[in-house]
Symmetry: C3
């Protein structure tokens, strides 16, 4: 059994063109008749990326355009992250997210030192994250951390003096995932950069419980930045109060109609974007889901609806959808590497390392 699907060109220094099942929108659509505003990106210099609350719509768009540029252009030869060491501190293990960040760094010639599992660290023995933060100052230029405790970000920042990228803190946030999510959505519908006509505004469905699921929490918060283009958000959750007080108020203030249901089929025919999740992944227990929380061949998806899923998935998103134009989740996964590269170059102030002639600035 041989794999004949890929023929690496001698000239291709690094990336494999995205030729995937499902929808593969060209990243260049995000750059068409547009420029990248470096002044906006420079706000990220030296900053940690901890929460979606640090982002306004403008910054999200510039990061996504920058990611589109990185995805469509050969940047690597300029070695943007040369000399930089990034610490991937995954006290809560996650192969997918860790490899995504590591690939992002290595493609740009940065270097990685890694904790892939917290179980064998001093942290497991009771060492404080404060001291670990002080230690990281000595070893690297930037930390990417995932941790089971929501308070971990605050703790490590008492002593950490280099930028921290939050890759997931307990039931808190996962901001880079949301950037990857919206990068995919904007590639699918670049008009979302501007102002949609009323009849074209989108109905967004989110499966999950923002109050306790960090990727969902961050995604909802980032979606509120696009409130002018969203007509309704439907939350599909088993919980009676899936948002909690703070988020409920934020949504109210946004003026977007919000609907809560415990059955995706109740709203799916009107959904333009469906953000799927493995509800079963709450903690480590696996629960059997029923059709109220699944998408499969029976689901009455709108013709041009698109599905997102941060992956990993179990049963809630049937692979039968992989080969359809509803599948935006592979694009979502592929694009995550580029938004992370955009963040690293910005946070570590390596704009000067980019080939200027390739950047469409105003």
């Amino acid at each position: 059994m041989v794999n004949e699907k890929f023929s690496p060109d001698e000239e291709s220094l690094d990336r494999n063109p995205m030729v995937s099942d499902g929808l593969n929108p060209d990243p260049e659509t995000l750059l068409k008749e547009d420029t990248i505003n470096m002044d906006v990106l420079k706000k990220l210099v030296g900053q940690s990326v901890l929460s979606v609350d640090q982002f306004d719509k403008e910054l999200v768009l510039e990061v996504c355009k920058f990611a589109a540029l990185l995805e469509s252009t050969e940047i690597a030869k300029s070695h943007p992250l040369d000399g930089k060491i990034i610490v991937t501190a995954f006290f809560e293990a996650s192969t997918r997210t860790r490899l995504s960040f590591e690939s992002a760094v290595l493609r740009l010639d940065g270097k990685i030192i890694s904790i892939s599992d917290g179980k064998s660290t001093g942290q497991a023995k009771g060492e404080s994250l404060n001291d670990i933060g002080e230690m990281f100052n000595a070893y690297g230029d930037c930390v990417v951390m995932r941790h089971t405790e929501t308070s971990a970000v605050e703790e490590i920042l008492t002593h950490l003096r280099i930028p921290l990228i939050n890759a997931g803190n307990g039931s808190g946030e996962h901001p880079t995932q949301s950037l990857a999510d919206w990068f995919a959505i904007l590639k699918w519908k670049p008009e979302l950069k501007g102002q949609l006509k009323a009849e074209n505004k989108i109905h967004l469905g989110i499966l999950g419980t923002p109050g306790s699921m960090r990727a969902v929490n961050s995604f909802l918060r980032m979606s509120l930045l696009f409130k002018d283009n969203i007509k309704q958000i439907s939350i599909i959750s088993e919980m009676a109060d899936p948002l909690g007080e703070e988020l409920t108020n934020k949504v109210k203030e946004s003026g977007i109609t919000i609907h809560i249901t415990n059955d995706v089929n109740e709203v799916v025919e009107d959904l333009d974007v469906i953000y799927m999740n493995s509800i079963a992944f709450l903690g480590d227990s696996y629960k059997s889901l029923d059709s109220r929380f699944k998408l499969d061949s029976h689901t009455k998806l709108k013709d041009d609806a698109v599905v997102l899923h941060p992956l990993a998935r179990l049963d809630e998103l049937d692979p039968i959808l992989d080969d359809t134009h509803h599948n935006l989740y592979f694009t979502q996964a592929h694009g995550a590497v580029f938004v992370r590269q955009a963040l690293f170059i910005s946070v570590l102030n390596r704009f000067n390392k980019l080939p200027k002639e390739k950047i469409p600035t105003a």
Copy 2:
């Protein structure tokens, strides 16, 4: 206690000369009065390396000659794998094999992202290898995978679009190990490249159960490619039917005499090459072995017999043999890095990065 055995030369950029106990045949013997056929090696471009069945004798020889070239020449300065990311996905942990592949890549200036243990991955939680394959497309240029399940290779290839190097799949195959095995054998007896006279054909002993031990399975299959130079294969196994039906037929078709015994001492005095294994390593249970499956100071080895062992070893191969000319297993281990380099350069089509003047082509 200081180690005075090695004095690194300021000029030596990377490799330490192979100065080991046991037999250390010069890799250049493989290249003497011979050339490397690049057209044959180019068949590997973009291919996955999954099974010995993909190889004919010609391809094995070219890969081994290429490995000999890499072992005897300073190639690294040309940075052959610059810009390439290899994912070492060891869902089944194996320090030896993983470090061998990683060293092979790093010496050639490629980069590594790594899963060293499957226990803390989404795979452990039930995520499908299909999705993991899709994910790897986004992160690297080539995957090296070891997995406890034989079906893992087929599963990941449903979505993987970059080349896969099989580093061991359940009880399936371990093709790169066999290349390392035969690389060692060919260095010991380069005449095996051609046609031996009848009286010089070799008697090969294989300890283990090909039907359930992947390295043994692959080694036997690769040995059949050299059938014209093998007079007999003796299988030393506890099992009544160690080959299974498919292999039994393959061996029959080859015309090689096959003998099955459960006591190595019954045949050892006539064996030219003895392929040892840790039978005790079947699964994770350790069984005590007796002298029927061991080589030690009592074993009546033929004068110029050579021993192979993919290592790790327990009691079945006594260290008393390390310092003898029977020891080809250290050469075998050292050479594995170079056959793996040969595969990477071929699969990733980086022939143009080699210093042309150093390649003896026709």
Copy 3:
């Protein structure tokens, strides 16, 4: 919550200036009106670093001056460890020490292959360290090893032919930690390089049991090299005979007054340097400590006393001290990377790769 403490300069290729809580002595004080004796450092070429017993005062000073040079100068652009692979073999897991070594190597453009936990290795299944040593010869240029067994160093050296840096072997030694410890002490009081007047000699307090704690053992042995500048060593330990016979004799021969107590408060008012430890870390059990083995806001520290601690810490060193001039332990942690770099460049004989104009040689 954003981190505004660090603004990476576009020009800063690699290191973040050490701006930490506590005392931050300038490394350049170690180089003032002094030179580096390369002939002394060249004694380390091709050597393993296993025990403090390999060091005399002169070699300790040259390594520390070299580390000071690396800390205060931009060396990395000359890629000193280009082409070298270092194997970090942490059979006993230790995130702090492993990342310290890995950062040291990567900053100098060397490469890393890593075992971060021994549990999933063949070693766990019973494979001998002898064979692992033979394997490492094929994969790298230098090994950094930490192991739970004291005998591990001797075992691996039966076959290892590349230099070994001992990062902790059972209850044996931890020589690079001691170099980091004394690097910090010398930065604090550079006059210790020479000869102090009698009234200025220091009283050194060591909390822990040298006989069973490797970092303490190595630190005490290295301190004896500075015997001419030490008036007294006080050991604070629960054990009746914390030194054991060999160390007791060594201390006697040095002529230094030694005092043993089980209460730090008995001596602390006279201590100039206090080497703290987590006694509770003996093995993996956590015991509650009382004030006899702690430093906190109540402790009557001498005005200009400094505290060291190899970290990680639990309760024995109160964070209230972090912001005081007694805190030399953050300097100690930061400096560890540079002494390790000094060792790698020396052991791997890469002096020629340093920018000559920056080295203050005689």
